[in-house]
């Protein structure tokens, strides 16, 4: 079932949680709402579910305006970050809850309920836990039960609020692979909220990036990662290095140092943010004619790549950079801590430094640092 979000606005006192959001979620897709905490993603999910009321705007479910429909009539499955399982009921009773709450006329017989619950427990691979209580289960098992409970009422949409947020890294990875598999079997329109970019990119068909109550970019994981459209998306997805400078012709002036920016030449000078991924930076000798000066502060050489962390100097002091080198490169280039070097980008993404985005990117570059 498709979901359309039209001009949703939500205000908490002075704070704008959602600023005129419009989004379309096509039928059968698994979409991630991704953004830093406080960006409004959970509020949006709760408004879609009907757990929260928007100040204005409409939620269209399957072509029908559901804005004034109560959550119990919206037929949405909601999975909470902290599971929200009923502690005083067995796992079986938890999963059966939705079916038993149906009005008498629609309620299936107890034997039908039993059949359904057992098949759902089988689906989440936990049939052997039916008689246990939630307190006896691990976090990952609880979340799978919460999912089974939501699926029991055959919802038209599945909404998951940071479903793996409370789990440890290993279980998290397992569960998200499992969720993807489950979605491929059921093809139920699903939206999940996360602040973990890796999770969003790995699991979702499409990613909606949000910041400050606004949608920054919507696209497939490949599209948003490879072609970020805003400084926010650039800095939020993956590690990134930022240079504050002034672009003119083919050059970027950072303080009194110069770089080539590899973009179309600028006809006029403009203040910009220049982004480069860690593998797009090269470390060169300190006496190289171009580049931004930095001092090596750490060299981490485990794994496939060597990570070099550097501190900015001169104009960019206080700024941190991260460069990834292949082990090959690492061998040919002696690096030691405290060494003065210059950084030369092989590619730069330039965004004009407007007043509004400036504050935003500033905050983000601080986060990155």
């Amino acid at each position: 079932m498709s979901i359309n979000v039209n001009n949703i606005h939500k205000q908490f006192g002075e704070f704008t949680a959602l600023n005129d959001i419009s989004l379309d979620f096509p039928s059968g897709e698994l979409v991630a709402l991704l953004g830093p905490s406080g960006c409004g993603k959970t509020t949006l999910l709760r408004i879609i579910a009907g757990l929260e009321q928007a100040d204005h705007g409409d939620i269209i479910l399957d072509g029908e305006n559901a804005s004034n429909t109560h959550v119990r009539d919206r037929q949405v499955g909601f999975v909470f970050q902290h599971y929200a399982l009923f502690k005083h009921m067995t796992i079986f009773d938890n999963v059966a809850f939705g079916l038993r709450m149906k009005p008498k006329a629609q309620r299936p017989s107890e034997s039908k309920i039993r059949e359904k619950v057992l098949s759902l427990l089988h689906l989440v691979q936990l049939d052997w836990l039916a008689d246990r209580f939630p307190a006896q289960l691990s976090g990952g098992q609880r979340q799978r039960i919460a999912l089974a409970r939501a699926l029991a009422v055959e919802p038209r949409v599945l909404l998951l609020d940071e479903p793996f947020g409370a789990l440890d890294a290993k279980v998290r990875k397992e569960l998200r692979r499992w969720l993807r598999k489950l979605h491929d079997e059921l093809h139920i329109t699903s939206i999940f909220v996360t602040h973990d970019q890796e999770e969003a990119l790995e699991v979702a068909d499409r990613v909606v990036l949000m910041d400050h109550g606004k949608v920054e970019q919507v696209g497939t994981p490949e599209a948003v990662y490879n072609h970020p459209q805003t400084p926010f998306v650039y800095s939020f997805l993956g590690s990134v290095n930022v240079f504050h400078g002034r672009a003119e012709q083919e050059h970027l002036q950072v303080g009194n140092e110069q770089l080539r920016h590899h973009n179309e030449p600028y006809g006029y000078a403009e203040d910009v943010f220049a982004f480069a991924r860690p593998h797009e930076l090269k470390i060169v000798d300190n006496n190289h004619h171009e580049g931004v000066s930095a001092r090596i502060s750490r060299v981490l050489s485990f794994g496939i790549e060597t990570k070099v962390e550097l501190d900015g100097l001169n104009e960019s002091s206080g700024q941190h950079y991260e460069v990834h080198l292949s082990q090959q490169q690492r061998k040919t280039q002696p690096l030691h801590i405290g060494q003065m070097v210059k950084l030369v980008p092989s590619a730069l993404a330039l965004f004009p430094r407007e007043l509004e985005t400036s504050a935003q990117a500033q905050r983000l570059s601080e986060q990155q640092g």
Binding site: A49, G50, L51, H70, V71, R72, D73, V76, G77, F78, F80, H82, A84, F86, K87, H88, M89, T90, F97, G98, M101, K102, F133, A135, Q136, R149, A150, A152, V153
Partner: protein
């Protein structure tokens, strides 16, 4: 006895258990056993005669009956009050919260006099109730019930409140997203979690009501066979210097109260097992 010697990361088991036993003996067990020792001066037939005399029997019925009813009323309305205080915010909430403890703080005699003045035939409320409904409140068992409801209120509110605060509203949201109506969510999700606390509050309010003297004595009117509570029977025996008679009645009260509280405790642990809290 093996379990007592098991290794534990929490030190001081021996010390704290010893302290608990000594303290409990000094403060609770010794005075209570004094009652039974004192009572034992009576022969069995004398004892039986004292504790089953018609006036005393009527007082048991009244005391335990009204106390049970008052605790039940408090269980219902105390939960409502606690619900309001936990779930909603409204101006003056702090004041309402503080008001609830007032029956604790007020000298019971003051409460008794105030209630009597209010519910007497010529009192503000007494006038209205008697005038419109023809029901006499003061100097009847209804008056006793009102006094006992008054003094028992804080027990239920204060035991339920913290538990209610702990219940995540997410649970109710989950219930309604699964199609449960508001009533179903309260009945199947919230109430089972609250039940042990409600029962504790009920037991406390009941125990307090059974032993209550000061606030009841004024409003009860103390009419023999109608509105005499058991503590009054004890006091009147004392006033006649009949100490053994007083302790005899006291011993019956103690035994009955103990059995009732024990039953409530058993019921509580049974529900706990039913809902997996001890599992």
């Amino acid at each position: 006895m093996n379990t007592l010697r098991q290794f534990s990361v929490l030190p001081g088991f021996g010390l704290s258990l010893g302290y608990t036993l000594v303290y409990l003996s000094l403060i609770v067990l010794v005075p209570i056993s004094a009652i039974f020792i004192f009572t034992s001066q009576l022969s069995l037939s004398e004892y039986w005669q004292v504790v089953t005399s018609p006036r005393v029997m009527a007082s048991y019925q009244l005391s335990f009956g009204t106390s049970f009813l008052a605790a039940a009323i408090n269980a219902v309305f105390g939960v409502l009050l606690a619900w309001c205080l936990v779930r909603y915010s409204f101006p003056g909430k702090r004041i309402v919260d503080a008001l609830i403890d007032l029956p604790f703080a007020l000298p019971t005699a003051v409460a008794g006099i105030a209630l009597t003045a209010l519910y007497a035939q010529n009192g503000w409320l007494g006038q209205i109730i008697e005038g419109y409904f023809g029901i006499k409140v003061a100097f009847t068992p209804i008056g006793i019930l009102i006094a006992l409801v008054f003094i028992g209120l804080p027990f239920v509110v204060r035991t339920v409140q913290p538990v209610l605060e702990e219940i995540d509203t997410e649970l109710e949201e989950a219930a309604s997203s699964l199609g449960a109506s508001r009533w179903q969510a309260c009945h199947y999700v919230v109430l089972p979690v609250l039940l042990p606390a409600i029962m504790t509050g009920f037991a406390l309010a009941f125990a307090r009501a059974v032993g209550e003297y000061g606030s009841v004595i004024f409003i009860a009117g103390n009419i023999p066979m109608v509105s005499e509570i058991t503590p009054l029977m004890i006091i009147s025996k004392l006033e006649q210097y009949d100490y053994t008679g007083a302790t005899a009645i006291a011993s019956v009260m103690l035994i009955v109260s103990f059995i009732l509280l024990l039953l409530i405790n058993l019921l509580q642990s049974w529900t706990a097992k039913q809902t997996g809290r001890n599992a």
